[in-house]
Symmetry: C2
Amino acid sequence: MFTVIVYLHVKREYLDIFIQATLDNAQNSQKEPGVIAFDMLQQQDDPTRLVLYETYRTAQAQLDHRETPHYLKWREAIADMFEEPRYAIKYNVLSPSEI
Amino acid sequence: MFTVIVYLHVKREYLDIFIQATLDNAQNSQKEPGVIAFDMLQQQDDPTRLVLYETYRTAQAQLDHRETPHYLKWREAIADMFEEPRYAIKYNVLSPSEI
């Protein structure tokens, strides 16, 4: 089990359409068997900054996620909407030990 | 419902004791009725950087958390262990709509 926090900074003019596309990706990702969490957050003091909080059971589960139709559709749809490149940081989960 | 991501950068010499103290806080916080998630993460490429991912049902739940014995004990125990001041960013949860 590990978690990836993905930081997304979106151009304001694309924010509504970005949120719709990302909601679709998040809701479908939550149904993947290897996904424990796929939370989508919006920063309270800057709505153009969003976070995906992705917890996977295994490394393979993350690879599988990247081949799903909903991920591939999302990646293409939002490619030109970023204020700056998105980036991700990977974490080991120390607690809870089982989710 | 909202999420607070807390970023903790710990002096290496305190890391083991910091992790033990923070595990105790996290495990007790997970039992609070107003807490939906209280995940404790350790950055894979820099173990001195940790994250608390705290999702609360209400603003009152966060205030209640800050008055618990386990939080107050933690806050005092770890006060001098930081490489730099900890900070937190608050987010609205766009998905899932219910956890």
